[in-house]
Amino acid sequence: MTKVLFGTCLLASALVGMACGSGGQSAGATGATGGASAVGGLGGDGVIGATGGGGGGSTIASCPELPVARLDPSAATSSGVVELDARLFLGDRPLLFGEEHQLPEGGTVTPLNVRFYVSTVAVIRADGTVVPVDLLAAGGGLAPYGVHLFNAEDPSTFTLRLRALAGEYTAFTFLLGLDVPCNLRSFGNSNPPLSADSQMTWPVLGYLFLRYESRLDGVDGSAPGATVPPTAIQMGGIPGMPTAPQIRVDGPLSVSATSSARRVLRVQVDEWFRAALLPARETLPGPTPPPPGTAFEAGDSLRQNVASVKAFVLSP
């Protein structure tokens, strides 16, 4: 099977996924094959899948631009805001967009494009109780679609604003990517951060969840045991299936109803590299695996392994 069919197989897998139901993240796919036309085409209204179509949660109706608050409005006086400043790191050193950085094994890396989605955030109490969180936009309202797009080129996107019930927590979780309903949206019929200028588009259906591109200079992978970081990682999922990895970040987190808190969330890009170079534990649904040596292969390995590495660390 040749590389060129990978995208076509994603389409086939998406249709299978939508027809068979999504399980985990929602009440199940509604079999919305909708207006998705030939590869690259949009449906009559530019939307993948019909809206409505049953009581399940896996239609784009479940991903409105103005999302439903996950916190009960009556809890407004007992909730607070935590701001997480996401900062890219390479080991212990900050990784800055467009700048050259020394690699531990020699050579340099220059990040040229680093973006990822965060959604479905929750905080966890010491007893294991999972408490949903609202993602907020910069202005304080709910983040459009309940989604945040981190873009290393735009400092205004570095801060994740979370509104949670006041209390003490020992961890938080999030999807590194989009949930099933949002990944069914069409970027042609969506506003930021799910529009085409997000640069998270795929040619077929759904979105990229994480996009990393870089330039390597002077990197010599010939030495025994040497590893060469991937120059590009493009991680997406299968529309209709819950394929966005869930990340758990351990660490004490206090939420106060009377004042907002601010913490640094270290994004360990070196751990992305490690996860992307680990073997994939399973192949994507469909007859064709991601073409070897490509950004998609790295992305699929990352998707399957990122939850098992320390890719996100809450600074003390």
């Binding site: 700048e99 040229l112 506003n191 640069q199 870089s214 590009a232």
Partner: protein
């Protein structure tokens, strides 16, 4: 004397009076219409067809903007200014001198010639569908159409006219004073000069290409070769979609697509100072790309066939080239199909639209 016979002199006097009145009226019309003797009212510029895949509310936001709400009078004023060569120090260069409507408002020359024949260093980009952009100029140094509009007027190698002088020229023309009053409620100013030009630029919307019709479900003008070309365009192997996704065919970002060569135009880096931005230029939309050659930021690639060949080679080999731009094995048939797809992006209705003529 019969009634008809007695009415003769009266009728003659009334006719003379009526003809004199008509003459005066026509003279007044001539005075206000300039050279447009007997011209009908211009067609509305705000009557546009949104391209498929464009964000649904960007046009509406333009109409409702609190900064510069798009109205017909503002767009028409901007159109008049766009074609007016008084906005140059020589009185010979207008915006339309380098942004020709029949070329999708681009320039068929690699670089444009400004006042006194001075050559610029970049290809004049097409001005199509800019209402959906957030970055303007090849290096993105302007963040709005309004911010962009005044810069070519003042650029010494383009129109070479400081905006205060441009405004003074407009203030001295009663017809412009009246037009600005009607559009913006005041006399010409630097701000309203930029705003009116931006308003006209916003109306340059192209959404009736064969590709658009294809996306609407009508393939009568989208042949099998274009369909095959579309599949190649969207394939992972070729990867054009990474920068030119379905819809507007631009992600409005900045990438080094392999056109940069050492010592050449630094592009985005000149604005941001970041080493990684060396050789990055704005990704243009591809609608009407067949009419807007030559190509790339410096107009150095003459034809679309040459563009395909350059990408097939993986760019020009500079190490700053984006890693996504790499040598691609394309058969002759695939190249032809790609060309057919790119040609399907031409909107003949837009290119020949009489509303975009002076």
């Amino acid at each position: 004397m019969t009634p008809a016979a007695s009415a003769g002199p009266c009728l003659r006097r009334a006719t003379v009076v009526l003809l004199a009145a008509c003459h005066a009226l026509l003279a007044a019309c001539d005075a206000t219409a300039g050279s447009d003797r007997g011209a009908s009212l211009p067609a509305p510029l705000l009557d546009v067809t949104i391209p498929v895949g464009a964000r649904p509310d960007a046009w509406a936001m333009r109409l409702q903007s609190t900064e510069n709400a798009l109205t017909e009078s503002r767009a028409q004023l901007g159109k008049r200014l766009f074609f007016d060569s008084r906005l140059s120090s020589s009185g010979a260069i207008s915006c339309a001198s380098c942004h020709l409507p029949e070329h999708a408002f681009a320039d068929p020359h690699p670089v444009s010639l400004g006042v006194d024949g001075q050559a610029g260093r970049r290809n004049a980009p097409s001005l199509v569908n800019l209402v959906w952009s957030q970055h303007f100029f090849w290096d993105g140094r302007a963040g709005s159409l309004e911010e962009q509009a005044g810069q070519p007027i003042e650029n010494p190698v383009e129109m070479n006219l400081p905006l205060p002088e441009a405004v003074a020229s407009l203030v001295g023309d009663p017809t412009y004073v009246a037009a600005f009053e009607a559009a913006y409620g005041g006399p010409p100013s630097e701000s309203t000069l930029r705003k009116s030009l931006a308003s006209f630029l916003a109306t340059l919307v192209s959404g009736q290409s064969a590709y658009d019709q294809h996306l609407r479900g009508d393939d009568r003008r989208f042949g099998e070769d274009a369909q095959r070309g579309e599949a190649v365009f969207l394939s992972d192997r070729v990867g054009c979609f990474h920068c030119h996704p379905v819809g507007l065919l631009t992600n409005d970002g900045f990438f080094n697509n392999g056109s940069f060569e050492e010592g050449g135009d630094r592009g985005r880096q000149a604005i941001t100072g970041r080493p990684g931005d060396l050789g990055k230029f704005k990704v243009p939309g591809l609608r009407n790309i067949g009419a807007s050659g030559p190509y790339m930021h410096d107009g150095s690639v003459p034809t679309l066939t040459d563009v395909i060949e350059q990408y097939a080679r993986g760019g020009r080999g500079d190490p700053t080239t984006d890693p996504q731009v790499r040598p691609i094995s394309l058969s002759a048939a695939e190249k032809q199909d790609l060309l057919a797809f790119l040609t399907s992006l031409t909107d003949e209705t837009f290119l020949s639209d009489p509303r975009y003529r002076p």
